[in-house]
Every structure is written in C-alpha cells, then in structure tokens.
Amino acid sequence: MTLISAENVSVHHAGLPTLDSVSFAIQPGEIVTIVGPNGSGKSTLLRLLIGAITPNAGLIRRSSDVRIGYVPQKLAIDGNLPMSVRRFLDLPHRVSNAKAHEAMATAGVTKLANKQMSALSGGQFQRVLLARAILSRPNLLILDEATQGLDQPGSAQFYRQIEEVRQDLGCAVLMVSHELHVVMSASDRVICLNGHICCEGTPDVVSATPAYRELFGSGTHGALALYRHDHDHHHDHAHDH
C-alpha cells in the first residue's frame, strides 16, 4: 500500500522553483529524506503533497486512509495574535486534555503548555509544531527543514525526537533537510532533487552517485563519516533549546 505518490508532476508557477516530471512514492513506515540545493524545489514538492500547490501537469495520489501530520519550515505568528501552546494544539480541531498531554509528552514539551507561542525558543517552537502534527496520529509525518535555526546539538536532539515519534506511531516520515550529515544516515531512502530527481536510493548509494557529488561536492562524504563517528558515543545532555 502506498501512502502518497507523485506521478510525473511538473510545476511551473511564477515565483516558485520549477519541478520537472517528478515521480516518487512513500510506503508506510519508511523514512525518506529529500536533499537538494537552495531553489531545487524541495519545499515546493512537500507543498504539492499537502495540497498547497496544484501541479501544472501530473498527478498526486493520496491513499484514502493517509493522515498527514505537517511540520512547516517556519511559522511566523503575528505578534498581535495571543496563542498559548495548549491553545495552539487545538488547531484545527479541539482535542481533549489527555490527548494534548500525550502529544506534548511525546514531543517533550509538557512543561510549556501555558507558555505563549511567542515566548518559545526556536527548538521549543519546533517541538510544539511536532506535538501538534502528531495529535491526529498521522501515518505520514512531513517535515520541511524542521531544524532550520537550531544549533547542532539542538537539531540532533530534534531528530532523535522524530525517531522516537516514529517508533511510537509507526508512521512514515518524509523530510526535507539541508543537514546532509544528520539526515542521510537516519533515512531509509534519500531523494536528491534539483528541479528533477537526480538520484534516489539508500544513503550510501546516493552519496556515491556522481550527480550527488556534483551538487554537494565530495566534502559531504567526510561529513557523513564524521556523523557516524559522532554517534558511536552517546549524547545524553538533554538541553532545552
């Protein structure tokens, strides 16, 4: 069963990166990462999948029982809109306190329930977005550059949180990231995008592909190795970023 798929999807909207005949599919439970340079259409592709953009050609197919949890790249809440964390979780549908608490626990933000969204740090904000996204118990979690603006320990911690969420819910995860070294090794499959799909496969296969090397240079190969080295030992300092 495929959760969601794109079939020969093309986008040529003014002001948006172009996508040419992109096809791919996501199966239940897998972690797929989209990498690519700036302006390669990564966010455009995610926004196609959630229905925010209609393609000029091609088809997006959603399985009838797909439940999407979406974590946007950034969310600018107008300073004039008062919004507590708990209230934010009630969007778009009200949820019981028990469910809200459970989601906050999974995302590690239980202590923030009564804080204003505007008072959160970058890392806290992203985890609140994650808590909201998992409230509907999604079987597909979509994250768009979710660690932008976080420092390295912060984003590493955030990815660990996502891994926990996936084990909890058994959901598929589709994410866009520029942090190759972190996401690559955590993914089942990597899609390298640059207006079209350049290459696709397991992290090892993709990072060895000439098309990928051309986009990111061979330097990233070292970063990948560095990451693996990093994770031989355990990080147990759980800061609140």
């Binding site: 809109l81 008062p82 209230r87």
Partner: protein
C-alpha cells in the same frame, strides 16, 4: 422604546461595534487594515452610485464594497505586495466617490454624514439592517472560527488540514464589506477602520488566547460605542468621532497600564 432616536442610535452603534470589534481581530492578526480602508472608502463611491440611480444607499454601498472586496481578494494572490495598489484603489475610490456625489444634479446632499456617520438619524429599518448584518458576521465567524484561525496562522498548516486558506480569506474579505455597509451610517467611511482595529489592539495586551482577545475586543467596542454616544450628547460633538476618541483613550489606558505592569516586574 424604538421611538426614541437615542435608543435607536445606541442600538445601531452597539451592533456595529460588536461586528467590527470581532472581525477587527482578524484584520489585526492578518494585517488587513489597508483592506479595511480600501473597502470603506469604496463605500463613498457606493453612496454616489445609489444617489445617481436613486437606489437604496444600503444596496449601493453593499454592492460597491463587495465589488472592492472581491477585487482586492483577486489582487492579493499569495506573496505579492499589494499595499501600494491598495492605496491607489482606496484613495481613488474615495476621490471618485466625492467627485461623483458633487456632480449629481438636484439636491445638494450632505456628504459629511457618509464620511463621518450620522447615527442620530438612523431609522428603525436601519437598526434592523445593522443588527442583521452584525448577526451574519457573528454567526459566520462563530461557525468558521477554527478554520479562520488556522488559515490566519499559516496557509500551509491549513492546506495540510484540508482547509482552503483562500476560501477563508475570501470569507473575511466579504465580511469586511458587510461591516462597512452597516457601519457607514454609524461612524462613516473614514473612521470604519478605527472601529475595526482599535478595540482589537486594546484587547491584545490583556489576553492570552485568541478567544479571550475576541471577547475583550467586543467588550471594548461596545463600551466605546455607548460611552462615545454619551459623550457626544453631553458635549454636543459628532457621534462617530466621539466613539473613536473614547476608543483611542481606552487603548492608551490599556497600553500605559501594560507598560507599568511589565516594568514593575
């Protein structure tokens, strides 16, 4: 009771203030103040057209305000800056409306009452229309509250939840036209935006959730409406501007008291 012009004026002002203060929260959250101005100014053109074709003012104003609202909606395609264009439309509609009114042959009409309102002359029918409009605004915002709020927060979050943010924006834009149509008799075209944004801005510093802000905003709106009417009677000043003056005064009080509270901590 409705025979008393003061009672009618109070009811009209209260209805207008309630609808405007409620919708005004979204105007503030979405930074739509310019939309409000453009729609309100277009109402003057609506007055001119109504007089020229001897239609009911309400019909003319509503039609032109709706037309302007839809035009703005179409122009504001995602991500494109429209404030300059809105300025052109807004003041263009106002100027053309003023010129058109002066060109209408026969009776010399009192433009001022449409620019600054004339709530003391509202009829029973006006009161009924104002409250029908206000009830419509309240009912639609009540029903759409969660969708409107989600779309206001982030269009992409709305899409992901199966809500079309363009539709929600259109709803707000149309409601803006309704508020303009009911408010023109009360505060006039030039001060409608004040009725929209000042109560909401006053409520902002005092509340922690969107619902609380909406309720407190409505409370400030109604307080300004009644208080402003009272002030106007006592000091023999125009009602619309008096309502806005009191509204600004309350805003200042709330802002100053907030400053004291935050610096006191």
């Amino acid at each position: 009771m409705l025979d008393d012009f003061l009672v009618r004026a109070a009811l009209a002002a209260c209805g207008t203030a309630t609808a405007a203060a409620l919708l005004g929260c979204f105007v503030v959250w979405r930074r739509m103040a310019y939309f409000g101005d453009a729609t309100a100014h277009a109402a003057v053109l609506g007055v001119a057209i109504s007089l020229a074709f001897s239609m009911s003012i309400l019909v003319g104003v509503t039609a032109v305000a709706l037309g302007m609202a839809v035009l703005i909606h179409l122009l504001s395609r995602q991500g494109q800056p429209v404030d300059t264009l809105l300025g052109v439309l807004s003041h263009g509609a106002l100027a053309i409306g003023l010129v058109a009114v002066s060109l209408i042959p026969g009776q010399r009409i009192d433009v001022e009452s449409y620019l600054f309102g004339d709530v003391l002359s509202v009829s029973r029918l006006d009161v009924a229309v104002i409250w029908a409009g206000a009830a419509l605004v309240i009912a639609i915002i009540w029903r759409q509250w969660s969708s409107l709020l989600t779309a206001t927060l982030s269009p992409d979050l709305a899409y992901a939840a199966g809500i079309n943010p363009r539709r929600e924006q259109l709803i707000l834009t149309l409601l803006l036209a309704v508020v303009v149509a009911v408010a023109i008799k009360v505060v006039g075209a030039l001060l409608i935006t004040a009725l929209l944004i000042i109560p909401a801005a006053t409520a902002r510093g005092l509340t922690r959730t969107p619902e609380a802000m909406a309720l407190v905003s409505v409370a400030f709106g109604i307080l300004s409406a009644f208080g402003g009417l009272r002030l106007a009677i006592v000091f023999d000043t125009p009602v619309g501007p008096s309502i806005v003056c009191l509204s600004v005064f309350l805003f200042s009080l709330a802002t100053i008291s907030r400053q004291f509270r935050t610096t006191g901590k």
